[in-house]
Symmetry: C2
Subunit: 196 residues, 2 copies
DNA sequence: GCTACGGTGACACCGAGTATCACCTCCCCA
DNA sequence: TGGGGAGGTGATACTCGGTGTCACCGTAGC
């Protein structure tokens, strides 16, 4: 069998190289600015070829934002796990605690990366693209929960989208405070903004 | 004198060329797909040089989305013009009628462009970037209105962001219905999704 | 030991976007 | 009316991100 969960030596090596590349890249990006570091620089600094960098990360942005892809599915799973009697907005708020927890585990790294993303239009944009791709999954998860007469697609999409905006705005303010404010509190404040 | 409002012959010519380029481009994009039309193709089809195309529109995306820049400021102005006793959410909804009206004036063109944008990741992304740049102005407009104890920046930012999401989702569903549904109604439905 | 396969590097290539230069046209002023 | 300046255009060269291809090399498996 040894299906998808099997970790071969090759896969271990791949992950190690990938992590090394990302680390070298983050150092360079933070020091010189994302736009001033070419893929050639990065490859030279990491001791690999340009081809290899592009093979590990499809785009330059994904060197920074590669980890983001997994979060969307995690949030959708968390959303499905919320009690059915919870209203959509409360359920979304709690589902996003997954992300808050990720930030809480390594605030320094999260802060550095967040600053880099917010300071770099290309990264900011790519981050939105990734989060935008979460929306259908969140909308679907909302559609499958709670009382029988569910709202229409427009309503559920808006709620999912607004929740993601709350997350981003809370994170942006958290970064602006140099991580001194509490991210969960900021997220609560953001969510409260739409309970009119 | 003859300040910013003066329209010289040169400016008229510039606008005419710009409009011609955009028209030729839209035809090509819709026929062959945005990604399959290079700037060289476009320039040849319009009978100008590549340099000229790039000079009129800084990027290929802006050939399609050039008109979008003006909308943001219009919405912000409309928002400031709403009665002070209106709550933020209602005021935002009415401010967006400016955009609804633009769509209502030429539904066929709006529908074609919207379809193109939704079908082209690069355009969709660039559209978000432009709309995202409206947010500070909208947040500022919100901060200047209504009762004295105004909410914090997080709250106002979230409201502005959510309103833009409502607009986009309403427009997307309107396009999906081939323009048969009423955009204003869809926008109402979207806004209602967040009155919990 | 031989072979087949995955990872790598080294190209060549394309297209977007930037910068620069020469030319040309039109307008203004002498 | 002739000259000069300014703005628009085309041509060219360049950088860089991203794709595709090919040959090489190590390792795993027979």
């Amino acid at each position: 069998m040894n299906g998808a969960a099997r970790t071969t030596a090759r896969e271990v090596a791949r992950d190690a190289v990938r992590a090394m590349l990302a680390e070298v890249a983050l150092d360079l990006f933070r020091r010189d600015g994302f736009d001033n570091v070419t893929i050639n620089h990065l490859a030279a600094a990491a001791g690999v070829s340009r081809s290899t960098v592009l093979r590990y990360f499809g785009t330059k942005e994904d060197v920074v934002l590669g980890a983001l892809d997994a979060h969307g599915e995690q949030v959708a799973v968390a959303l499905r796990a919320r009690p059915p009697d919870e209203n959509d907005w409360t359920a979304l708020r709690h589902a996003l605690d997954i992300v808050v927890e990720i930030y809480r585990q390594d605030p320094a790294a999260a802060l550095a990366t967040t600053r880099l993303v917010l300071a770099t239009p290309a990264l900011h944009t790519r981050q939105w693209e990734k989060q935008h791709s979460w929306r259908p999954a969140l909308t679907q998860a909302l559609a499958e929960r709670g009382a029988s007469p569910r709202p229409g697609a427009v309503t559920l999409s808006v709620r999912a989208a607004a929740a993601l905006d709350c997350l981003n705005i809370a994170i942006a303010h958290w970064a602006k405070s140099d991580g001194t404010l509490n991210l969960a509190d900021l997220l609560d404040e953001a969510f409260a903004a739409l309970t009119l």
